[in-house]
């Protein structure tokens, strides 16, 4: 569905992404992992067309319109002075013309997160956690074919992290392809079909969980992550 071929992006003198190739298949949850500064967000921004790669090729097959993509950015923020439902419908309307369906979906997701009663409240009156939920809804409200969720668990307590996990699983079951970037290894390893560990802009490890376990002779992703990156990525 999405292929990156030898993609490179340099900021001044630092290569944020350096010759990265990867493939995301239709209907899977693909996890993009790596320590801070590994190049995950730059990769995500290139996939979404927010920034252009300096070289290499990045393409969707079949070609994907912007409106079929969903995005939860790591750099989080939402309009504060407008009501919840109005804001969601506006953000949804930038990607979809089907107002009635957007309204249905907004009701569904607000119900799912226990926020339907607060649909007419200004977002600034919600707690930080609830604001994060609104942003998650904004990313999937228009039922995208391909959703990029950059750090979807950040700012949530363990109960809500589980809730987000089950929502992502449901979205995949509904046919959505999900590219996930996160630091919560235990959650990600239960969720994702395939993984790519980035380090200094390059692929460090990739494959299914089984393949990675075989390659590294370690049981879980958390161990792999710690042992690999606490020594500067040379394991």
């Amino acid at each position: 569905m999405l292929a990156l071929e030898n993609v490179r992006k340099v900021y001044q003198t630092v290569a944020a992404v350096d010759g990265l190739s990867m493939e995301v298949r239709k209907g899977e949850i693909f996890a993009l992992l790596g320590p801070n500064g590994a190049g995950k967000t730059t990769t995500v921004r290139m996939i979404l067309g927010i920034i252009e790669p300096d070289s290499g090729r990045l393409h969707f097959d079949p070609p994907m319109e912007r409106s079929r993509l969903g995005y939860l950015p790591e750099e989080r923020g939402i309009y504060q002075d407008t009501p919840v439902a109005e804001t969601l419908l506006y953000l949804g309307s930038l990607r979809s013309d089907n107002k009635a369906r957007l309204k249905e979906q907004a009701k569904f997701w607000l119900d799912r997160f226990g926020l339907y009663d607060r649909r007419n409240d200004k977002i600034s009156t919600l707690s930080k956690g609830n604001q994060q939920k609104i942003q998650f809804i904004a990313a999937v409200l228009h039922e995208p074919e391909f959703a990029v969720l950059d750090e979807p668990y950040s700012g949530f307590d363990p109960i809500n992290q589980e809730l987000i996990s089950s929502c992502i699983t449901e979205l995949r079951a509904g046919g959505m392809t999900v590219l996930l970037s996160a630091h919560q290894m235990q959650l990600v390893e239960r969720l994702a079909d395939r993984f790519l560990l980035l380090h200094q802009g390059k692929e460090f490890l990739s494959g299914t969980l089984e393949e990675i376990r075989t390659k590294t002779a370690r049981e879980d992703l958390h161990d792999i992550f710690i042992s690999s990156f606490s020594t500067g990525g040379t394991a």
Partner: protein, 392 residues
């Protein structure tokens, strides 16, 4: 711009407009304006009432002006010669006439009516001197009379006061619209940057679409405010005109549909052009409290100030140039049209130049916006901005 982009621009414009232009708040604002206006009017009337009490002035004189009765409008003058200090203390002021060339006024503090007293004393002195020199009053007045200068024009006769006032009002309205747009555009864009909303939106629509929507939506807010206040002003003056027979009808009669249409066209295009400029600048500002670029946001207020020059003389070369120059034409050309005859092709040519510049500003702003909106925590220098503009 294709149909889909146009639809998205419309959606962003509506969102921006509805975010900031709320009828409930506007009505509340109007009610406050009316309340403050009422309080000002009542207060002024009350103060004027106090000031309109006729002051009483006691006069101590030596007979130099040979007056049997002392009288002038707005002052009560009483011959106080021979009164005691205690009796004199009851007057608002005591005037002691020392000679035909000197008089002394004693009072608690300076008062505005002393000007009237001065005029009265001047006329007494003039009468005395005329009598002493035997000059006839009519002859004296004739000596000081001005020559009558009758003007005739080989070209178009200059407009009267009403067009000048109309031109001044037009310029002021444009200035208000630009100021309001400035405030909203600044709040909208720097607010979005600070609230980190940018990335979510630019992943959905192109930065050019986003900025186009913002420019249109926020310009519409400025125009709505101006339209609302203009209508209210017309309404209020209309009512006052009907109630008091004030000559407002001749004022409105001086406005023709062609002038209004051209004024609207120039104002609209100018406001859109400067909003594009403001959006581009705001996208480069990280912290509005400390940014040096905030000063640039005042630049659009300069052209309307130039336009006020037109009121002094609409025929100078400078005014001619400014009425064509796209950064100033939106304010200067309409003012020149009202005050001086212009050929039909002049407004057309100036507007086309203005529209082309507005389009160029929009494209440049889009390029700045694209990179500036994603730059958090630091501000680009002017060199970097120029590099962004040069990028395709």
């Amino acid at each position: 711009m294709n149909r889909n982009e146009f639809r998205l621009v419309r959606r962003v414009a509506a969102w921006e407009y509805n975010r900031f232009f709320k009828w409930k708040d506007v009505l509340k604002g109007l009610m406050w304006t009316v309340l403050i206006g009422f309080l000002s009017f009542s207060g002024t009337r009350w103060l004027m009432q106090d000031a309109s009490d006729t002051p009483v002035v006691g006069i101590l004189h030596n007979g130099v002006f040979l007056q049997e009765t002392w009288t002038t409008e707005g002052l009560e003058l009483i011959d106080a010669t021979g009164m005691t200090e205690a009796q004199l203390a009851a007057f608002d002021a005591v005037l002691e006439i020392v000679s035909a060339d000197e008089a002394r006024l004693r009072m608690e503090g300076d008062r505005p009516w002393t000007g009237r007293l001065q005029t009265y004393l001047d006329s007494l002195r003039t009468d005395l001197r005329l009598k002493e020199t035997g000059i006839d009053r009519a002859l004296f007045e004739n000596l000081g009379a001005p020559i009558t200068l009758v003007k005739s024009f080989t070209g178009e006769a200059p407009k009267g006061r009403i067009p000048k006032i109309l031109a001044a009002i037009s310029i002021a309205l444009v200035l208000i619209a630009v100021f309001l747009s400035f405030a909203y555009q600044f709040t909208a864009i720097t607010g979005e940057k600070q609230q980190r909303i940018t990335e979510q939106v630019v992943a959905a629509i192109s930065p050019q679409t986003w900025i186009d929507g913002k420019i249109i939506g926020i310009s519409a807010i400025g125009i709505s405010h101006v339209a609302l206040y203009s209508l209210l002003t017309v309404g209020v003056f209309g009512v006052i005109g009907l109630m008091t027979d004030a000559p407002f009808a001749s004022f409105f009669a001086a406005v023709d549909a062609y002038t209004v249409l051209l004024f609207f066209l120039f104002a609209l295009t100018g406001i859109l052009m400067w909003n594009a400029f403001l959006a581009g600048v705001a996208a480069t500002i990280d912290d509005p409290n400390s940014s040096q670029k905030s000063g640039l946001m005042m630049l659009p207020t300069v052209p309307p100030l130039f336009a006020f020059l037109v009121l002094m003389d609409p025929t100078t070369t400078a005014v001619m140039v400014l009425s064509w120059f796209p950064l100033t034409s939106y304010a200067v050309m309409p003012a020149r049209m009202v005050l001086d005859g212009v050929a039909w092709w002049e407004p057309l040519g100036a507007w086309m130049l203005l529209a082309a510049t507005a389009w160029l500003f929009r494209l440049v702003a889009g390029r700045i916006f694209r990179l500036g909106m994603l730059l958090y925590g630091k501000e680009p220098g002017f060199k970097e901005i120029l590099r962004w503009i040069g990028r395709t």
